[in-house]
């Protein structure tokens, strides 16, 4: 059987022939090329939700500009490449290389005589291991006082009649904002069932600030995130919610020896005095001249760590939990939630990248055949719909969405079983079967066989509701797929 990506590629090839010489030709070629490129992940959210900071943490470098005032006004793509390059794509369709400098805090880009309003999007090419796995898209926030910036994000993520440029979204939510869920819903597109939590995860960003920087802030944030992840309205639009203290994450992956040297000054004073000093940002700036830190050094520490980070790092150093810069960086990254986020991204996005990319490609054809019919486009549309409607990975996604939307319901344990089997918590076999990662083939085989029997019974039981019976048949297919894979591996 040919893979989903192969079938999508073949369909795109046919579409290119059908639309040869039409204005849509270029778009289809781009869609085909996109199939071979890294997964595109957009970082979206409200103004100042910490998008650029999180992006930097994921890349491991300070590229995206961050600032207390609204600054990310241009949609910016960060992609891997051989050379360092920044290109502005103007509204007129011109691609113009820009001059840039690498500053300590961010990439300084010189727009030249362009105004931010003239630029459709900016493409930053940067040799980076992280960007080889995914191209990241930084978006202007929604809900800002300047509505124009918001509208631009909206157009990127919710174009009127096109496929979305992103394959997946990390959506930054700030605790509870009415606009958040609405926005996220609108991002989800058309055909593979709607709403669609399959290509989005939520990040409870700036998690340290929910408890206003208390040392137990992350524990509190984790509680809130897991509650959010079970909220029906949130479940409809994102797969899960992960708390991340973005600033701490960014600083952890860019930690310098100078940072550590300065933090030690704080760690070396007695705990009681340190607590007093760290009562407020103003205090940290102005008190204890004997600390031996200049005003600008203190300011830099606050900007890089926030009070929460300084409190935490000083405690880790003082208690000897972390002895070196490397150890401290690891502890801070763990504590910030960054490692957890990366694991989740791995199992929910990167493992599924072929499905997500194929989905984007097929949706592109589907949209085009509808708005621009041409000789031959109707059979193309039929073919595309057939793949969208019948390919097992899409059916898994569709059932997953339906469960998330509350359309398929049953006992909690049955639903959890179903969700795992169809890959809702990750595609790996042990995750689907809810076994230990070290589980051997025999164990996997017996668990899959049991699951198969269980779901076959449910699918055939006349008392099973119609929706659940449909979902059960998909689960049966998932089990058969796993058993086939286990046999092949023998």
């Amino acid at each position: 059987m040919t893979s989903l990506v192969d079938r999508s590629r073949a369909l795109l090839q046919r579409a290119i022939q059908v639309y040869w010489g039409s204005p849509h030709h270029g778009r289809l070629v781009a869609a085909r090329d996109r199939l071979e490129e890294p997964l595109r992940v957009a970082v979206a959210g409200r103004v100042k939700a910490g998008k650029s900071t999180l992006l930097n943490a994921l890349v491991g470098e300070r590229l995206a500009p961050t600032d207390t005032r609204e600054c990310t006004r241009i949609v910016t793509w960060y992609q891997d490449g051989h050379t360092y390059r920044v290109v502005a794509h103007t509204k007129e369709g011109e691609a113009r290389p820009l001059r840039f400098r690498r500053e300590e805090r961010a990439l300084e880009v010189d727009l030249g005589d362009l105004r931010p309003g003239d630029v459709e999007q900016m493409m930053v090419t940067w040799p980076s291991q992280a960007l080889r796995v995914a191209t990241l898209i930084d978006t202007p926030g929604i809900g800002s006082l300047s509505e124009q910036v918001s509208r631009r994000t909206w157009q990127l993520l919710v174009p009127e009649e096109e496929e979305t440029p992103a394959d997946a979204v990390i959506y930054l939510m700030r605790h509870a904002h009415a606009g958040d869920v609405e926005f996220l819903r609108a991002f989800h597109d058309t055909e593979v069932s709607q709403p669609n939590p399959v290509n989005a995860i939520g990040v409870l960003s700036r998690a340290d600030e929910i408890a206003v920087g208390r040392l137990d802030a992350m524990a509190s944030a984790e509680r809130i995130a897991s509650q959010l992840a079970t909220d029906p309205n949130v479940r409809r639009v994102v797969q899960t919610v992960v708390p991340v203290a973005g600033l701490l994450a960014e600083t952890a992956v860019t930690l310098t020896e100078t940072d550590v040297k300065h933090l030690r000054r704080v760690a070396d004073i007695p705990a009681q005095q340190a607590d007093d000093l760290l009562l407020s940002a103003d205090r940290f700036m102005n008190k204890m001249p004997e600390l031996g830190l200049t005003l600008s050094e203190r300011e830099a520490l606050l900007a890089r760590f926030s009070l929460f980070g300084i409190r935490l790092a000083a405690a880790l150093l003082r208690q000897g939990v972390a002895l070196t810069a490397t150890e401290l960086a690891r502890h801070l990254a763990d504590h910030s939630g960054l490692r957890h986020l990366k694991n989740v991204l791995g199992s929910l996005f990167f493992e599924r990248r072929d499905i997500l990319k194929s989905r984007s490609a097929l949706l592109a054809i589907d949209a085009l055949t509808r708005v621009a019919p041409r000789p031959g486009s109707d059979t193309l549309a039929t073919e595309t719909e057939r793949v969208l409607a019948s390919a097992h990975p899409f059916n898994e996604l569709r059932v997953l969405s339906a469960i998330r939307a509350g359309w398929v319901s049953g006992k909690a344990e049955v639903m959890a079983d179903l969700e795992h089997l169809i890959g809702g918590a990750g595609g790996a076999m042990h995750v689907r079967l809810r076994l230990d990662p070290k589980a051997g083939r025999a164990e996997l085989t017996s668990a899959a066989t049991e699951a198969l029997a269980r779901w076959q019974r449910r699918a055939e039981n006349p008392l099973t509701g119609h929706q659940l019976a449909v979902a059960a048949r998909v689960a049966v297919r998932s089990c058969e797929g796993m058993l086939a894979e286990l046999r092949r591996a023998r």
Partner: protein, 514 residues
């Protein structure tokens, strides 16, 4: 404080004289009214309502002001019902249940958290508290929590009212909080130093300013955000006025450790001064209101004595000022126009998407839109009532009239109006060619259902708002309305002397009423 004492004392003397006049001239009804006025003089209260968006630190601010953790603070839960914090000999708390006057049920002060907060989104149903909690004995609705603690700041009659957040969570509650401002002496609008004011916050503030003349804006969490000065500068530009920066943790820490320097850093001193000024102002206002009541009584009696002459101070004149039937009609029309606009917008939104997935969001949107319109309608009521009576003694009486006893009652019923579920044909469609056609058929059914549900919801809301408006108008009317004048009696020269004496009393009262 001393400067205001004589004012209250003067008012008290005037009221006593007024009561005697009413009794002598055969108006026991007016005497009873003045007696109530006299009692109010003895127990002057100043209600300061704390409003602001969800999670801006309103409860922490109240706690820091009174120097103890009386209002429940939780990272995820939010204040669910208004919490009234006032002075008392010892720490006590009551649950308040719907009723007039509200029914009280004492609880231990440590239990307040179970009732006054509701879990944040995703908090599930685990918490016993929340909007619809019932009392042990009956099924009446929890409408507030009153906390009494010994506290110097509150000793002068100050009552701090912590309210549910105006933004994020339930907007019907927010409408109730906003409506309550019309009865408050002052308000603290709370935002935090994390970022500049959001457009929604500015909109709430605009409405708040329509309903309450004295609003102080407080910038919280200044301890945590090093850039708070920048945020303050930007906010103050938006506001066109200055803010009070305040750090609740520093203030609480300073109170615990008796650290004066830290207390100064907390920024609370100015805020406390502001509140003290409100208490002083409230004393002056109470005195003025009492004096105005005396003036009305004098006018009524003198007017009756001046038989045969049409008098400007005839009670009928006051009735004409506020034509309740006409105003009710105007308000109803205004509300209907607003609601129709909401329905039109919703219809458009329903046609633009599939209710199967937009419905939960639309519910939230609909509630917030409708609450917004309810407040605008209420602003119109207040404006009309004020315009009608401006410059008359009735103006000062009006503020009191909105609420009688202060409590958040207006629009409380909004939260109870439910939007019907729609459930036709939402199903899992798997299969081949017919996928799209089937989906489209189901979708059009859902749209029809959704539109009907919106209309039913709006009708119910219009009924609640209409009822509350009529009730508010009735209260205002009752406050202004007095019975027909008693027939004049006695010899002409006695009458002239009586009228002259009443004129004298009226003039003295006018000085105090200013």
């Amino acid at each position: 404080m001393t400067a205001e004492r004589p004012l209250l004392a003067q008012a008290s003397t005037l009221v006593d004289l007024g009561i005697r006049a009413c009794e002598v001239y055969g108006r026991p009804d007016l005497a009873a009214r003045l007696a109530a006025t006299g009692r109010a003089l003895g127990e002057t209260t100043t209600h300061v309502v704390v409003i602001g968006d969800f999670k801006r630190g309103k409860s922490s601010l109240v706690n820091a002001l009174v120097g103890s953790t009386v209002c429940p603070v939780d990272d995820n839960a939010a204040t669910a019902v208004p919490t009234y914090v006032r002075h008392g000999g010892r720490a006590e708390a009551d649950l308040l249940f719907a009723g007039d006057p509200p029914r009280r049920q004492p609880i231990a002060i440590e239990e307040v958290g179970q009732f006054a907060v509701e879990a944040g989104p995703g908090g599930g149903e685990a918490r016993p508290g929340g909007g619809g909690v019932s009392s042990e004995s009956g099924d009446s609705e929890l409408v507030g929590v009153e906390i009494r603690i010994p506290c110097d700041l509150l000793a002068g009659g100050l009552v701090l009212v912590d309210t549910p957040g105006v933004g994020g969570l339930g907007s019907p509650q927010a409408a109730a909080s906003l409506a309550a401002l019309s009865m408050a002496d002052a308000a603290l609008f709370v935002t935090d130093a994390e970022q500049e004011l959001a457009p929604t916050e500015l909109e709430v503030l605009r409405q708040a300013r329509e309903l309450c003349d004295t609003i102080a804006c407080v910038l919280t969490k200044t301890d945590f955000y090093p850039g708070w000065r920048t945020v303050r500068a930007v906010d103050e530009r938006h506001l066109g006025g200055s803010m009070y920066p305040a750090s609740a943790p520093l203030r609480l820490h300073a109170t615990e450790t008796r650290d004066a320097a830290l207390d100064a850093e907390s920024g609370f001193a100015d805020l406390v001064d502001f509140l003290a000024a409100q208490v002083r102002g409230a004393a002056a206002r109470t005195a003025a209101r009492a004096a105005a009541d005396v003036m009305v009584a004098c006018d009524l009696i003198a007017g009756a004595f001046e038989a045969g002459r049409a008098s400007l101070t005839d009670p009928v004149a006051i009735e004409e000022l506020l034509d309740v039937a006409k105003l009710t009609g105007e308000l109803d029309h205004d509300l209907r126009t607003r609601i129709d606009r909401v329905i039109a917008d919703l219809d458009q939104a329903i046609d633009g998407g599939d209710p199967a997935d937009t419905w939960p969001q639309m519910t939230a949107w609909l509630q917030s839109r409708v609450s917004h319109e309810a407040i605008e309608n209420f602003i119109m009521l207040c404006r009309r009532a004020n315009d009608a009576t401006v410059g008359t003694p009735a103006t000062v009486a009006l503020k009191r009239a909105y609420g009688g006893a202060f409590r958040i009652g207006m629009f409380r019923g909004l939260a109870g109006v439910a939007l019907d579920d729609i459930d036709v044909g939402i199903g899992l469609v798997l299969g081949h060619q017919s996928l799209r056609a089937q989906k489209e058929r189901q979708q059009s059914q859902r749209r029809t259902q959704a539109k009907q549900a919106v209309r039913r919801y709006c009708d119910k809301v219009a009924a609640v708002v209409g009822n509350d408006s009529r009730e508010a108008l009735r209260r205002i009317h009752d406050q202004l309305h007095v019975g027909p004048a008693a027939p004049p009696a006695g010899a002409p020269e006695e009458l002239d002397a009586a009228i002259a004496w009443l004129r004298g009393l009226r003039e003295r009262a006018a000085v105090v009423a200013r």
